[in-house]
Symmetry: C2
Subunit: 353 residues, 2 copies
DNA sequence: CGCGTTTACGTCGTTCGTAACGATA
DNA sequence: TATCGTTACGAACGACGTAAACGCG
C-alpha cells in the first residue's frame, strides 16, 4: 500500500471510474494508474472495482470501505502538507470557496480583495453550489470553505461560523398591486401571487414553506433560479413576484422594480461559513474567516477548528450593518507560527508524492 | 511523503526518539530510517526533531502536529489492512488485549479459550494496565480491546460495551475482629482498620474514597497492589484488611482468609470492554465481544463501532450469574462477509509496505 | 473503428544494506 | 570507549513512460 496508490484510487473514483480521465487530472499516465490499482487490489486480496470486460463498472462493497478510509488518509496527508506550507510561511496556495451565487457576488468580493492584497500569490477558486444535492458530496471534496445560508444552524458536525443575518425582500414590478396595498403586508397577500425565488426557498420543508403552511397558506412557486439577477428578470417580465435576499436588492435595479419590506413575516436567515471537519486550515483561510467575522478572535476560530470548542456567543450583525462599513479589520502582518526552526528556503524541496 | 516515512516517524517517536531502537522494532536498518526522516523533514520544510549534537533531543511544536496527523494516517491504513484481512477470511492476526490483572486472570480466560478454538491461528497478546497513567497513551497504541472497571461509565468518547457488574469484598484474616462483629458491618467499621486494595480504589477521588468521605470517614490505605493475590498475601500477613473484587475471592484461598459481604456499602462496579474509536475491528474482535457480552447482537455491536449508535439498554449481569454459566453462546461459523469477489488465495500478496 | 484498459519492456530514479565516519557522554 | 546518528556507495528493486495488443460498443 502506498500513498500514491490510494491517491490514484480516489482519483479514479472521483473521475467516475475512468482511469484515463483520472490520469489526465493527475499528470500521470493511464497504464501507470492501471498497474498501481491492480497492485493495490493484489495486496488487499479482493477487487475494489467490478470490471465489465476491461472497463471499471462499479465499486464493490468492500471497495467502498477501502475508498472511505483512503479518503481519510488523503485528508490527513493534505493536512500535513498544509501544516508544512504554513510553518514555512508560504503564502501561495489555492483557496477553494463554494457559495451561493448571492454570497459569491454580493458578499465575498468585499473581503476577498483585502485577502488577495495580503496574499498576492494566492489563487482563489470560486464555485457555486450545484442545484443537485446528489452532486454535493463529490464536489465538496477539496473545498476549503463554503458559505451557506440557513434559517437556523443545522448542526451537521462541521464547524461553522455565523457571518451575518439577513432578511428576504419582496420584489415586484413597478405599479404592482402589492405596492398600493395601503396597509401592512401579510403572508396571505404574498401567497396570492405567483412567486419566483431560490430553489432552496421553494423546496418543501424549507423555512419559507413552513412559514406559509403555519398560516395555512400554500405559496405558488412558478419559477426558481439560483441567480438573483435571473429572478429579477423573471419579475420584470411579469412572471411573478420575487422573493430574494435583501443583499441582492440594490439601487441599480432601476425604477421598474420595487422592493417591499416584509418585516418579520418570514424568518430571518443567517449566513454561515462552514469548514470541513478534521482538516487543517491554512493561514489565509483563517485570515479570511477573520475578515468575514471580525467579532471573533483568531483564538476563537482556531479553538473551534482544532478542538471543536464553540465560539463565544456574539450575535451576528445584520446585513445592513455589514454593508455600511468597509471591512475595517486590516490583516495584521501574519504572526510568526509557534517557534519553528525552519530550513532556509533554498533547502525546501517541493515534494512530489 | 510516504507511508513508510510516516511509519518510521511514529516508530521513532514511540521508541523515545531512539532511531536504532525503532529500526530494530521495524526490521529496518538504522541509516535507512535516518535518511527517510531527513527526507521527510526536507519535504515539510522544517525540522520535526530538535537535534542535540547528533541525537534527537525532542520534537518541535510543528513536529507534534505532524506526528498527530501521521498517527491518524497509520490508523486508517491499518484499518484498510484489517478490512482486507477480514474480507479475505483470514483468520490469523494478533489480538492485543489490555486489562487489569483481575480481569485478565479471572474473567478473560473463560472466553479466550472459546475464541482461540475458533481461530487457531490467532495470536493473543495480553498486557496489564501500568500503574502509571502517563504511560497509558503510548502503550495503548496498538491495543484492540481494553477491559476496564469503573463505577459508572465515564464517557471518554471511545465506544464501550458493559460486560458485567460486580461488588467489592472485604477480605480479613481468619479470626479478625470484624468476623465477630455480631451485627451488620458499616463503613465506619471498615474505616477503623488499615486497608489494602487496588491503587485505583485508593486514589483520592475514586468511587471508594468518595463513599467514605460522604460518611465523613477517611480510610487508611496502608498498601496497594494491582495483583489481587498480592493483596491477599498482605492480608494474610496482617498488614490490613483487603478490599478486592469479588471475582478474586475463591474457595481456594484457604481457611486463613475470610470474605465478609459488605452488601451495598460501596458502589457497585461495571466492567467495560472499551475499543478504540475510528478503528476497524477484525472479525475475531467482534466475536470476542459477542462472547463477552452475549446479550448484544452482532448488529448492535457493529452499529456501535461503525456509527457510534448506542447499544440497546440491557442491564449487565452480575458476576455471580456470569460465573454460574459457562459461555453458552457458541461462535457461529463466521458468516461470509458482504458479497466480495475475492482473489484465490494464491494470488494474494502479503503486502510489504 | 474509436475508446479505454491491459500487457510488455526499457529506462530511470529511489531505496536499502553494508561500511566507514563523526560526535557525544 | 561505547553508543548513536550521519554520510557514502554499490546493488537491486520498483515505478514510470512508450508502444503495442486486446475488448467492447
Amino acid at each position: 500500500m502506498t500513498l500514491v496508490q490510494l491517491r490514484y484510487l480516489i482519483a479514479v473514483v472521483d473521475a467516475n471510474l475512468n482511469i484515463t480521465a483520472a490520469a489526465a487530472r493527475l499528470n500521470a499516465t493511464q497504464p501507470g494508474i492501471s498497474k498501481q490499482l491492480k497492485l493495490l487490489e493484489d495486496e488487499l486480496g479482493f477487487q475494489v472495482f467490478v470490471r465489465k470486460g476491461k472497463s471499471l463498472e462499479r465499486t464493490t462493497p468492500a471497495g467502498v470501505e477501502v475508498i472511505d478510509r483512503a479518503r481519510s488518509v488523503l485528508v490527513e496527508t493534505d493536512n500535513i502538507r498544509s501544516l508544512a506550507a504554513d510553518f514555512q510561511q508560504q503564502s501561495d496556495g489555492e483557496l477553494h470557496i463554494i457559495a451561493t451565487q448571492t454570497q459569491a457576488r454580493l458578499f465575498l468580493p468585499r473581503v476577498l480583495g483585502v485577502l488577495k492584497a495580503q496574499y498576492p500569490a494566492l489563487g482563489i477558486r470560486q464555485s457555486y453550489f450545484s442545484e443537485n444535492p446528489a452532486a454535493a458530496t463529490s464536489e465538496s471534496e477539496s473545498v476549503d470553505l463554503s458559505v451557506v445560508s440557513a434559517s437556523e444552524h443545522e448542526s451537521v458536525g462541521s464547524p461553522a461560523i455565523p457571518l451575518y443575518r439577513w432578511r428576504r425582500s419582496l420584489l415586484v414590478p413597478a405599479g404592482h398591486p402589492l405596492t398600493r396595498l395601503g396597509r401592512a403586508i401579510t403572508l396571505a397577500d404574498i401567497a396570492e401571487h405567483p412567486l419566483v425565488s431560490y430553489p432552496s426557498m421553494a423546496r418543501a420543508g424549507s423555512s419559507v414553506s413552513r412559514a406559509f403552511t403555519l398560516s395555512s397558506l400554500t405559496p405558488r412557486f412558478v419559477g426558481t433560479a439560483q441567480d438573483p439577477e435571473l429572478i429579477k428578470s423573471y419579475v420584470r417580465s411579469g412572471l411573478g413576484v420575487g422573493l430574494i435576499a435583501e443583499m441582492a436588492v440594490s439601487a441599480s435595479d432601476g425604477a421598474d422594480l420595487v422592493a417591499i419590506d416584509i418585516g418579520d413575516l418570514l424568518p430571518t436567515c443567517t449566513a454561515w461559513a462552514v469548514l470541513r471537519r478534521d482538516t487543517v486550515a491554512r493561514r489565509y483561510t483563517l485570515d479570511l474567516l477573520r475578515l468575514l467575522a471580525p467579532r471573533y478572535s483568531l483564538q476563537d476560530i482556531s479553538r473551534l477548528l482544532r478542538d471543536g470548542r464553540p465560539l463565544p456567543d456574539r450575535p451576528a450583525p445584520w446585513w445592513s450593518d455589514v454593508q455600511a462599513h468597509e471591512p475595517v479589520v486590516p490583516l495584521h502582518p501574519t504572526p510568526a507560527p509557534s517557534n519553528v526552526t525552519a530550513f532556509p528556503a533554498a533547502h525546501v524541496r517541493r515534494g512530489g508524492c
